[in-house]
Amino acid sequence: MRDKRGNLPLGVIYAVAAIIVALAVGVALFGTSVDAAPAQQAGADHGHDLTINQPAGEHVALTDPEDLVPVEELPVIKAVLGYAPNAAPPVDRDYRAHVEVELETTEEVLRLADGVEYRFWTFGGAVPGPMIRVRHGDYVTFTLQNHPTSLMPHNIDLHAVTGQGGGAEATLISPGQQATFSFSALVPGVYIYHCATAPVGMHIANGMYGLIVVEPKEGLAPVDKEFYVVQGDFYTKGDFGERGLQDFDMQRAIKEDAAYVVFNGSVGSLVGENALFADVGDKVRIFFGNGGPNLTSSFHVIGEIFDTVNVEGGRLINHDVQTTSVPAGGAVMVEFGVDVPGTYNLVDHAIFRAFNKGAVGQLVVVGEKNPTIFTERTDIRPYDPDATE
């Protein structure tokens, strides 16, 4: 093809150039099938890897074949709830299902602290309400029941729901009624649910919150212990510790002047004989929520460091964290290994809340000591800087 001087004919050069240009334009416009797969894979790959490089706003799409199955053909499962401090059991299922959840709202006088009672409004008769656990992509049919002895109407807003009010309008019910609605768990994460009946602040302040966990499709890594803890602030007419049946104080709530800041609805709920237990060597996971209504929590476990923190209950994972910020109406999932025995205090590190308002709980770890990691005191003696040698 080449001419006497060894050059390619001009026509060939033009033709090759045209082909290259055409290919480039074609790829730019239409992409290739090779490109699509990595994006999908990256999308489905959530949970434990650091994915901050994911383009902002990209949705974890539900495009597996199982996500296209009509709802009527899904197996129906009744949700198994977790009652704090016990988490709901892991989903342990690799297929999509139609999950049925029932929650009941009640109003009852319960212990807030020693000698102190409070008229709580609850999901499931306790604060926090039960933990709900489903799998990413599940179709959930939710029924809310308002006990006939309630005085107030109630409803629910689940932060895991995409749709009007998170379910609040669909589920507004008077005492002695029940309501049902359905939703798809479109996004994995750890979410708060709470009552959203007017006045919302009061319903939340009286204890109407809990967690719903949407596990990623591949599930969460197995751990040895899972716990369910939700912080809340309480506003009573009397100050901390004032005995008797305390009333809600609206002015204090508006001023955000909490009398009590507690885990799981009462002072001492995770202390002493109510403490959480683990063994040396365990990997511990805590689903930690903050019902508020007002205060952000500075969540810390004294003597421990979180190996991983699903920041704000989402996909972003942080590592080696001492104290994590959990906003009101938010949640977090933390994991850490316990290496040496001891009593590890869970606290809100806004420290006066821990010591003066009740925001302290205990994780008691039993097992063999390990002096390489930690020794107790090895020496104590007088110290006098003025002593002559």
Partner: protein, 277 residues
């Protein structure tokens, strides 16, 4: 010997007799009048105590877009909610409203469910407010008495009164007191009339039961207070409610939230009523 001690001449006998008879007749009439006035009347309207309310502008929690301020005309309202005993008397005279006879459209299956029978209060206190009654039953009761249910505006007008003046908001600690009354009601309400009367002389507006109002389907807010600015526009044309006026009036929020979910056939152990007229 007789000494005249009287300075006047003695009245003739017939005139004395007439005077005596007149006095006795007058005494008899006065006595009968006193007797009938004191005797308890049999008509329900006279037995139920009502007070006059002068009316005026109502401060509604949710003023309505496009509406002038709501004004209530002068009206009368019951001092206390209707009691079990009064409702029982109504059922005795109106059998179609008894539990076993009432059609389902007018009262659901929870109607009077705490009663032991159609006309048997069982363990319920006759002087406690009647509850577990539907809106239709409450409206019928008031109608039978020649009265009616109060409108929401009228009810709120009375509810907004303090103890010392017509505006509770002006009284220190009023909001907190009403909120406590509203949220600490007993499961089974106690007898009516034990509460301190408010400025208008009305009792038990907050501490015993929720109460039906005439215009049960007219509060257009949803129960979700965060979205109250959004008035289901496509269902409702011509009005609705904008944001609340006084966001710290939690007791009012609780009332509005409760009313927003009500339907005519519903009943509950914490829901009673009183009449107006």
């Amino acid at each position: 010997m007789t000494t005249r001690t009287h300075s006047h001449t003695r009245t003739p006998a017939p005139r004395r007799r007439a005077a005596r008879l007149t006095r006795r007749f007058a005494a008899a009439v006065a006595g009968l009048w006193l007797l009938t006035a004191a005797m308890p009347t049999t008509t329900a309207a006279a037995a139920t105590s009502m007070v006059a309310i002068e009316g005026g502008e109502v401060e509604l929690l949710f003023p309505v877009e496009g509406e002038a301020a709501t004004v209530v005309e002068p009206f009368r309202i019951d001092v206390v909610p209707v009691t079990n005993a009064e409702f029982l008397a109504f059922l005795e005279a109106n059998p179609e409203w008894r539990r076993s006879a009432v059609p389902e459209v007018f009262a659901g299956s929870a109607y009077l469910r705490a009663w032991d029978g159609d006309l048997d209060l069982g363990a319920l206190d006759p002087s406690a407010p009647v509850t577990d009654v539907s809106w239709f039953a409450a409206a019928a009761y008031c109608e039978a008495r020649g009265a009616r249910l109060p409108t929401e505006a009228e009810w709120e007008f009375v509810a907004n009164a303090g103890y010392a003046g017509p505006r509770g908001r002006d009284e220190a600690g009023y909001a907190a007191r009403v909120l406590t009354l509203t949220t600490s009601r007993a499961q089974r309400p106690g007898p009516v009339g034990m509460d301190e009367a408010n400025y208008y002389g009305v009792k038990d507006m907050h501490g015993l039961v929720w109460e039906w109002v005439f215009d049960v389907g007219s509060s257009f807010n949803t129960g979700d207070s965060r979205s109250d600015g959004d008035r289901r526009l496509q269902l409702v044309c011509g009005g609705g409610s904008a944001g609340a006026v006084d966001k710290s009036d939690y007791a009012a929020f609780l009332r509005y939230a409760f009313r927003s979910g009500l339907t005519g056939g519903y009943s509950s152990g914490g829901l009673g009523f009183r009449c107006a007229g």
